[in-house]
């Protein structure tokens, strides 16, 4: 396990830092510029997407490319229900519908050989896009919908709440026997099955939980876009970027995906207006380089340097 060993003193310091950080973030909209609030909301969103993705695909090593599909479902829930129901209820529904889709997809494909799952999630996006396009042309007559408008601060707070819930859930899963079970499934699935773990159930359930947060994030983010259509809502970028962020940051530790998300969300923000295609090009290249040379991500690299600096790898072989 690639965890940094935490002494109880380190742990206390970490808790204090997290608490202070949380206080700063919660009070931020009251003294920061609107631009900062908006920017941070985007970063929160990416952290949620990346951590949720890593929650399932990290320990099980089953790569899901469905993030964008769940995100898009969340967006469309906002577009259809946003004006009819209270915002928090809509966000909840967005999460639940995404989780339901994940239960369906997972139930179908997670009992098969690993690659079928990945293949299925890859095509899911095109499927949803086509389905909704057809539906809109046939039944509603117009392409796309308008989304209810919500003020920036509300979006910020809801996104922050989803972020805290996501990270908390990820942490609790890791600490519990289910986290251990997930890890065992990723390391040696057959043995896990033989010691009483219902592998398919654990996988499907975790997949659904991760989809919940992705969907909820989509629902709240949609309110910033005022107009969405199937092309905007179901965009492969949202399946790609979280994977990139998690791999670059480091899948193993809890904060690897967080680190990766912050770095690339920031990069995207500063590059997207001037260089809309170049930044995605850069991301693609970083992905290839990361897969080739950064098996444990940035955090893994940092750990290696630290170990070398303090003289020799800790532990074994």
């Amino acid at each position: 396990m690639n965890k940094l060993t935490l002494t109880s003193k380190n742990f206390l310091i970490l808790r204090i830092i997290l608490l202070v950080g949380l206080i700063i973030l919660v009070t931020l909209p009251f003294y920061a510029a609107i631009y900062t609030t908006i920017f941070l909301s985007t970063i929160f969103m990416y952290i949620v997407l990346t951590s949720s993705w890593a929650m399932f695909s990290g320990p099980t090593a089953q790569i899901s490319l469905a993030t964008a599909a769940f995100f898009g479902v969340g967006i469309y829930i906002a577009a259809t229900l946003g004006t009819i129901m209270p915002l928090l209820v809509v966000v909840l529904i967005g999460g639940l519908v995404s989780a339901a889709l994940a239960l369906f997809v997972g139930g179908l494909t997670l009992r098969l050989k690993g690659i079928y799952f990945t293949i299925f999630t890859f095509g899911l996006l095109e499927l949803m896009k086509n389905l909704l396009l057809w539906f809109e042309i046939k039944f509603t007559g117009t392409r796309g919908r308008f989304v209810v408008v919500v003020d920036y601060n509300t979006v910020y707070f809801i996104m922050l709440a989803i972020l805290v819930l996501t990270l908390l859930t990820a942490y609790l899963i890791r600490q519990s026997k289910y986290g251990l079970a997930l890890q065992s499934i990723g390391e040696q699935e057959e043995a896990a099955e033989h010691i009483g773990i219902n592998v398919t159930l654990v996988k499907v359930f975790t997949f659904a939980i991760s989809a919940f947060f992705i969907g909820a994030a989509g629902t709240i983010m949609a309110t910033r876009w005022t107009y969405v259509d199937p092309y905007i809502a179901f965009n492969m970028n949202f399946s790609f970027t979280p994977v990139l962020m998690a791999i670059f940051g480091g899948i193993g530790p809890l904060f690897g995906p967080v680190l990766g998300a912050i770095i690339f969300a920031y990069l995207e923000e500063i590059l997207i207006t001037q260089f809309p295609y170049y930044y995605m090009l850069l991301f693609g290249m970083v992905m290839v380089v990361s897969v080739l040379y950064l098996p444990n991500g940035l955090i893994g690299l940092i750990q290696k340097w630290r170990a070398r600096a303090t003289g020799g790898e800790h532990g074994n072989s």
Binding site: M1, K177, L180, A181, Q183, S184, E187, Q188, E190, A191, A192, E193, H194, I195, G196, I197, N198, V199, G315, N316, S317
Partner: protein, 239 residues
């Protein structure tokens, strides 16, 4: 009373028959050995019992109940555990977590993390691995990894334990220790069905031995009977 039995158990892989119409039974409290030349279908038979594979056709009964078609995790929870010929420990987890997982999920009872760790520690002591509790499983020697697999299987509170060639690759001291462990496990009331190539071990520790060849059962009896059986000798020498 037969705690584990199979009727007409058969398995084809493509056009090749791996196990062919095998009837077997293991009585409560016995240690039964399963021997045969390489490729005889022994591990396949274990796979069929533990539900990693499904017999077609054939029937397997555990404590009188038909368990054919159940999933491996269900069979484990009913009280049947196994080890693997190519050791399948969880490499990146500490030894104690490997066993604790078995405690957590191997039985229908719910245990707290603390209880699981406690039970895991007890099992590690039983097999003699207490000193290695915190080490990542991949860093263990082969012998210790096999012991870990046994401890993990025992964590699921089995009534029947399937051991698949646990003595392969062990030296004579280690083999003697393994034989002792097998006796200790039986003394706990657990029935054992074991595949083994190390003849002297099988002969001394088993109550009864079954011989497979080309997927068929060709002989069955006490170690004495098997050692003197012409059919068996021919099969081993004729190879």
């Amino acid at each position: 009373m037969a705690i584990l039995e199979g009727e007409g158990v058969t398995k084809y892989f493509g056009g090749l028959v791996a196990v062919s119409d095998v009837d077997f039974h293991v009585d409560q409290g016995e240690i039964v050995g399963l021997i045969g030349p390489n490729g005889a279908g022994k591990t396949t038979l274990f796979g069929l019992i533990s539900a990693a594979l499904v017999p077609k056709p054939g029937l397997i009964r555990f404590k009188g109940e038909n368990i054919t078609g159940l999933k491996p995790h269900q069979i484990c929870r009913k009280g049947l555990a196994r080890t693997f010929q190519s050791v399948k420990i969880f490499p990146n987890m500490p030894v104690i977590s490997n066993v604790a997982l078995g405690v957590h999920f191997g039985t229908p009872e719910r245990v707290t993390s603390a209880q699981a760790v406690e039970e895991a520690a007890r099992l590690l002591e039983f097999v003699g691995l207490s000193a290695m509790a915190a080490i990542p499983a991949k860093d263990l020697t082969l012998v210790n990894q096999k012991l870990l697999e046994v401890a993990r299987a025992l964590a699921t509170k089995p009534e029947v334990l399937l051991l698949d060639e646990i003595m392969a690759g062990l030296n004579s001291t280690e083999i003697a220790q393994a034989m002792e462990l097998v006796s200790k496990i039986r003394a706990q009331g657990i029935t054992i069905f074991m595949i083994e190539h190390v003849m002297k071990a099988i002969m001394s520790v088993c109550d009864r031995i079954m011989v497979l060849h080309h997927g068929k059962k060709i002989a069955e009896g006490t170690p004495q009977e098997i050692a003197t059986s012409e059919t068996v000798i021919k099969v081993y020498l004729g190879e």
